[in-house]
């Protein structure tokens, strides 16, 4: 088992969420769920993060911020869209200032449904994210191997 799998650090960004999903993300850190058991840390710095957890939909104001945070994260990295709004825009999808789900602006690896998404499903989404992270690392290794060969 690689170290990446045992130490996924998360960057949580509230795009334009109603805070419902954000509360559930924070609930994952409480004694009941305690995600630190799996080595998961909620970091505030994109340069330290492996998993980008986004709640809420993309609007005209935060599109640049989301892209900027994504670009600042070092590879390998994955994006987990948490909640209906982050997946598709949710009930705000047709609002005049909303562009839609997170996948409109950055590549999303895992979609976690729910309004609000439950802590169990968020943790499940992060675990799927770790698998995607492993896949990306293996891919990067293969590509490096091809280059040197």
């Amino acid at each position: 088992m690689s170290f990446l799998r045992r130490s996924p650090w998360i960057l949580h960004y509230d795009a334009s969420s109603c805070n419902g999903c954000d509360i559930e993300v924070l609930a994952c850190l409480t004694p009941l769920y305690d995600v630190e058991r799996f080595g998961i840390i909620n970091t505030g710095n994109p340069k330290h993060a492996d998993i980008f957890l986004v709640t809420g939909s993309v609007n005209e104001r935060n599109v640049e911020i989301i892209q900027n945070l994504y670009r600042q994260m070092p590879d390998p990295k994955v994006v987990v869209a948490v909640g209906a709004c982050a997946c598709s825009g949710g009930i705000f999808a047709r609002a005049y200032n909303v562009q839609g789900g997170i996948d409109r602006v950055i590549p999303v690896d895992v979609y976690v449904p729910g309004c609000a998404a439950r802590p169990e499903s968020i943790i499940d989404g992060v675990v799927r994210g770790i698998e995607a992270l492993e896949g990306k690392r293996a891919l990067a290794r293969r590509q490096r191997g091809e280059k040197t060969a």
Partner: protein, 284 residues
């Protein structure tokens, strides 16, 4: 056995010791918060992961400075156990910390710069104490090396209890514990408090972690100086002191840097300098 052997032993074993202490710290902290906490080896998993990530260097001096930080921190411990003059090692210790300040200050991020400034203030707060501490230890034991202090018939902790008390308070700063964690902290990974490491990613951040393991081992070595009759006794004292600091960490909130500076200098002057002065007056 030649003291250089112990110096080399420190170079090899200190990161293991420091990493295990950090892992135990995270478990104890979690238990104090009614959580289960990560595995004991979590700090090693974190460092291993950081080495496997891509590292973005924002300027050409950042990595050499951080490598210098780790190296100097390791060399401080090796010099201490290897029989160098005790007071000289405190200067090398300060230099190691200064390299981290320079690495953080070389970044253009305002958070990183604020972190560097705060770390300088931390240095300003604790360095006078370390020099006074070593001077006091040298004075009571009539020795200037680590081996000399360990061979002394006097128990340092009983001779200079004021200095030991100040050491316990200053160690909170060096161990990055609340309420003195103004430049960087173990827990809240947020902008200002993690400011020092804002622009460090991948292996650059791993260097900072490993340097902190060396620093923890160094503080354990300092604790042994106070309980110089028996190394085991010193390590038990370190474990008890560390537990007390985790408790303080979990029950206090962060203070402002002005208070940190006032507090450490007042305590250093009152207990540490007072203790040294008393030694001279009593002619011990």
């Amino acid at each position: 056995m030649h003291p250089i052997f112990f110096g080399l032993l420190f170079l090899a074993l200190a990161p293991v010791f420091g990493g295990l202490v950090a892992g135990a710290d995270r478990i104890v902290t979690a238990r104090m918060q009614s959580r289960v906490g990560p595995p004991l080896l979590q700090p090693f998993y974190d460092a291993g992961k950081l080495f496997s990530k891509t590292s973005r260097q924002i300027n050409p001096v950042q990595e050499p400075l951080l490598l210098g930080h780790v190296t100097m921190m390791a060399v401080t411990g090796a010099m201490l156990l290897g029989g160098t003059d005790l007071i000289l090692t405190t200067f090398v210790f300060a230099l190691a910390a200064l390299l981290l300040v320079l690495a953080a200050g070389s970044a253009s991020s305002p958070y990183s710069f604020t972190g560097a400034e705060r770390e300088l203030i931390v240095l300003l707060a604790v360095e006078p104490f370390f020099i006074l501490m070593m001077a006091a230890i040298c004075k009571v034991t009539d020795a200037s090396t680590y081996g000399g202090v360990l061979a002394s018939p006097k128990l340092v902790a009983l001779e200079i209890p004021g200095v030991l008390l100040t050491f316990l308070l200053v160690a909170v700063v060096k161990l990055r514990k609340s309420p003195f964690d103004i430049s960087t902290s173990h827990h809240p990974h947020q902008e200002l408090v993690k400011g020092l490491t804002t622009d460090m990613s991948g292996r650059l951040l791993a260097y900072v972690e490993i340097a902190h393991w060396y620093e923890t081992a160094l503080l354990a070595a300092f604790t042994v100086l106070f309980f110089n009759w028996n190394v085991g006794l010193g390590l038990v004292a370190f474990a008890i002191g560390y537990l007390a600091e985790v408790l303080v960490d979990n029950s206090t909130s962060r203070i402002k840097w002005q208070l940190l500076l006032r507090f450490t200098w007042t305590v250093t002057l009152l207990f540490c300098a007072g203790n040294v002065l008393a030694l001279f007056v009593l002619g011990v």
